[in-house]
Symmetry: C2
Subunit: 223 residues, 2 copies
């Protein structure tokens, strides 16, 4: 579903160039759960942003569903993201001046056949918190609003940057069960960055990032 071909991403910083991704070649199988693992600072978020069309590579190609994202205009890229990709950000990226419900609504209302905000909030265990502003929510609750916002629009591709990082084990298990249901029943292709070994073990494929490239690919026995 997603193919990365010799993708590089370099950040210029004054006189120095920070070469984060140095030729990543990998593929994300359709309808599967793929985990991306690697040390802090290894480039996982950078890679996810390229897959989701939030950033452009310095070189190489990012091909999603047959479309080379590099060839799309900014406007086409925005359209692609809005309709086909759900993104759970590492730092949630909620709008501070909108309630939880409104944060979910802004993502969903542009998409036909979306879940209602209250349905999405309920799925992540946040019944009754729809009127709280982000500043009136705990860290793990903000993370879950970010998840609700991403799933409400029923995307084909769900990109999750450490979606259970702020959650206790019990709540995290429920969120993972929700993601697995989306994958198994609705065929959603899921890519998730995780630092947790048990979570990576649930994935069909695990990509390990190290020194700017995919160091290893591991596929689990269940397809």
């Amino acid at each position: 579903f997603v193919r990365l071909e010799n993708v590089t991403r370099t950040f210029p910083m004054g006189e120095v160039d920070v070469r984060v991704l140095r030729g990543v070649t990998a593929s994300i199988p359709r309808g599967c759960v793929t985990a991306i693992v690697g040390e802090s600072g290894s480039g996982k978020t950078t890679l996810l942003n390229l897959i989701g069309g939030i950033d452009r590579p310095s070189d190489g190609r990012v091909i999603v569903g047959g479309t080379d994202l590099v060839k799309l205009s900014d406007r086409e890229l925005t359209f692609f993201r809005r309709n086909r990709v759900g993104f759970v950000f590492q730092l949630y990226n909620l709008i501070a001046t909108l309630t939880a419900r409104e944060n979910v609504m802004t993502a969903a209302e542009l998409v036909a056949d979306a879940a209602t905000p209250d349905e999405a909030l309920s799925l992540v265990g946040l019944d009754g918190f729809g009127d709280h502003f982000p500043g009136q929510l705990s860290g793990g609750q903000q993370q879950r609003v970010s998840i609700a916002r991403a799933i409400a629009k029923r995307p084909e591709l769900l990109l999750c940057d450490e979606p259970t990082g702020a959650l206790d084990r019990e709540t995290g298990v429920r969120i993972l069960a929700l993601l697995q249901t989306l994958n198994e029943r609705q065929g959603v292709t899921i890519v998730l960055i995780t630092h947790s070994r048990p979570i990576a073990a649930l994935a069909h494929r695990v990509l390990s990032l190290e020194d700017g490239i995919v160091r290893s690919v591991r596929d689990s026995k269940n397809p």
Copy 2:
């Protein structure tokens, strides 16, 4: 070192009152590592903010080193925090317009005998990242700048809100070893909120928050 006596904290929200802490009574032993655990939304961050004097209880007393924080003026509270408490925030709270080095410096420069920013950054594995702005750092790197900022001022009391939440296992282990060194060699009293069972197991005392009160206190065999 810290005593909480029947502490309550309620947040008014329109017509409804959110009663988060409902009579917390507990103590944080001097020179020990105390972990606070509990579900997402159970009130851990709220409790830590009260201990650190960042927030005031609705009722009850927070006594640190013999001083009832409730009796201090805002100005005295600010002085107490600045000199005696190091705080690692759940969402890092870095200043976006200052570099990593400057973020650490602002906390340390007001305190005599502080570590230099570069020393602190080196201790958390961020050698060479001093010139990056927060927006040019990964999530786990931002978290570590937040830690460097808290420890640079050599506080008596170090309050850490999920200090390894964004870190891979290896980096997290190094940060915990650093915290344990501060505790064992410098006698720093540490309170850390964590969702991780192995991390809580390293603490001398574990406080479990549930339904707004301390449901259980567990002390480990090593004092």
